[in-house]
């Protein structure tokens, strides 16, 4: 029996749409039906596009007359609610009065529309993308657990088959953490690779935009539409855009896999540690060489990202702070926005100095290896309402633990992907993180795909 339409990846759907054996209207309706069936339990979408079926009909008409725009044409996608959209309200997850965002498309949204995608709705974000829980969204693998965040709506929606892929944003791990928690693929490309124009800022030098998808191949297809220079984003770089799908399927024999043994392997839940070690052995089994190394300066990384993220967020919210609007934010986000006042100027600049040191440390490591592999998060999805997670024989704050392995790649701007690499004893997904050199998403995708195609994790779906 063939899988339901909503369960299929873009790489399987796109050829059928192009060949006119699958109607974008039928596909979009299947996603809308699926949303109607399960999203009252997940709450992953904050709103649906009123014209989703009309978008699909337009796509179908264009394809029928021979104007196929590419692999995203007619594909239903979700957009995180911190991307501006012309046809849907943007809230950035806040209900605070006096805060409104323009009704226009973010540059990435424009690119997806140009690629012919059907933008089916907006997915929930933790308020102002400042958190790792994304209330009230629930994890499709266990409804009493969080999807992580801040792109938790996107992670839950993709995992549950409510859309073929969704956009996220990542300041300290907000694409990769929900990808890991929800058992999907999340790609944070190199800083400057994907435009952030029209995305509500969180921390200007840490924010990245990118997709959450069902497969690595789908991430490559999304990047084909998203990557490229945009002068409206001051950080966006004018670098050539390769065909990201070209690297898929290439063998990894001879590639050098780096494993940073400090920081990433010091304090993981047992099942996470085991799954990641097995994944590394699997990559070695495909002919890659594995080299261990350490980056001792990572011990200072948490201070650096806290200083930069808190100070930047406080600067962005300064007007709302002074106007007293932050009292209407959720208490956790209000406190984080207020805490930036305590970060001194010298602390901030020292964080930027440390960042330069870490960039150099990772450059030296990536002179010797092609990618760096490790866990995406030390813990699997935790129960909603709990603020600590069990690691070994002690409880650790989920706020501290959840982003420990993702934030180094926000500080350094390196491309990093999270892919599923198994499940823990409670049936919760585990994420494998693969990072690479700047603007070498191709090698990251190549290694990720080599792992994915030799495992069946992507074929598992949560029972909803």
């Amino acid at each position: 029996m063939s899988p339901a339409l909503w369960a299929e990846p873009i790489e399987a759907l796109a050829p059928r749409i192009r060949g006119k054996t699958l109607s974008p209207v039928e596909l979009t309706q299947a996603c809308l039906d699926r949303i109607g069936q399960v999203d009252d339990r997940l709450l992953s979408f904050i709103c649906l596009a009123p014209d989703a079926l009309e978008q699909a009909r337009r796509a179908e008409a264009e394809i029928a007359r021979g104007d196929w725009r590419g692999p995203l044409h007619g594909i239903p996608l979700g957009i995180k609610d911190n991307y501006l959209t012309a046809d849907m309200l943007t809230t950035a997850g806040t209900t605070a009065p006096g805060i409104a965002f323009p009704r226009r498309d973010a540059a990435a949204v424009t690119r997806l529309r140009r690629a012919g995608a059907v933008l089916i709705g907006k997915t929930r974000t933790h308020e102002f993308a400042w958190g790792n829980v994304t209330p009230p969204v629930r994890n499709p693998w266990a409804l009493d657990r969080v999807p992580s965040g801040s792109s938790g709506g996107s992670g839950a929606a993709v995992a549950a088959g409510l859309c073929a892929a969704a956009m996220g944003s990542d300041t300290g791990g907000s694409i990769r953490m929900p990808a890991a928690a929800c058992g999907v693929v999340g790609l944070k490309a190199t800083f400057g690779r994907v435009t952030r124009e029209g995305i509500v800022p969180h921390s200007w030098s840490l924010d990245h935009a990118g997709p959450l998808t069902r497969t690595v191949g789908d991430a490559a297809l999304m990047m084909g539409a998203l990557a490229g220079h945009d002068p409206a984003d001051p950080a966006c770089r004018d670098e050539p855009v390769p065909d990201y799908t070209a690297a898929l399927g290439a063998p990894i024999a001879g590639l050098r896999i780096g494993v940073c043994r400090n920081h990433f392997f010091e304090d993981n839940q047992e099942d996470v540690q085991r799954a990641v070690e097995v994944a590394i052995a699997d990559l070695a089994g495909q002919g890659a060489t594995v080299a261990d190394f350490t980056i001792p300066n990572l011990a200072y990384g948490l201070a650096a990202i806290f200083a930069i993220e808190l100070a930047s967020s406080t600067a962005y919210h300064d007007v709302s702070l002074r106007a007293g609007r932050v009292r209407h934010y959720t208490p956790d986000v209000r406190q984080l926005v207020e805490l930036g006042r305590f970060v001194t100027g010298p602390d901030y600049l020292k964080a930027e100095q440390l960042r330069a040191v870490l960039m150099e440390d990772f450059r030296r490591a990536l002179d010797r290896v092609d990618v760096i592999v490790g866990p995406t998060t030390p813990i699997t999805a935790w129960k909603a309402g709990e603020w600590t997670a069990r690691i070994g024989d002690r409880d650790e704050s989920v706020l501290a633990a959840s982003w420990r392995f993702t934030f180094p790649y926000n500080l350094t701007g390196l491309p990093a992907i999270s892919i599923p690499c198994g499940f823990d004893r409670q049936g919760l997904p585990i994420g494998l993180q693969i990072a690479g050199r700047p603007f070498d998403e191709e090698t990251v995708l190549r290694v990720a795909h080599a792992y994915e195609r030799t495992h069946e994790w992507k074929d598992r779906a949560p029972a909803l």
Binding site: P231, F306, Q335, E338, R341, E352, A356, V357
Partner: protein, 66 residues
């Protein structure tokens, strides 16, 4: 003229306008972050240029959005 209380002065310097109990809550929350920042303060990074690099040509390179 009387001197401002030390806590008032700190609030003024940091630009914080919060009731004392709320400020105390925030200070307690920041204590955990401060533990990390203290580690950073111990590093000698005198010879390291911050990762931010000032670029006076940036406004001249920007074009209107396509």
């Amino acid at each position: 003229m009387s001197e401002p209380a030390p806590l008032d002065l700190v609030r003024d310097v940091l630009g914080i306008d919060l009731p004392p109990e709320h400020l105390a809550e925030n200070l307690a929350a920041f204590a955990r972050i401060l533990e990390e920042i203290r580690k950073l303060r111990t590093l000698d990074l005198t010879d390291i240029h911050p990762s931010i690099v000032f670029d006076p040509t940036a406004p001249y390179r920007r074009e209107p959005r396509a």
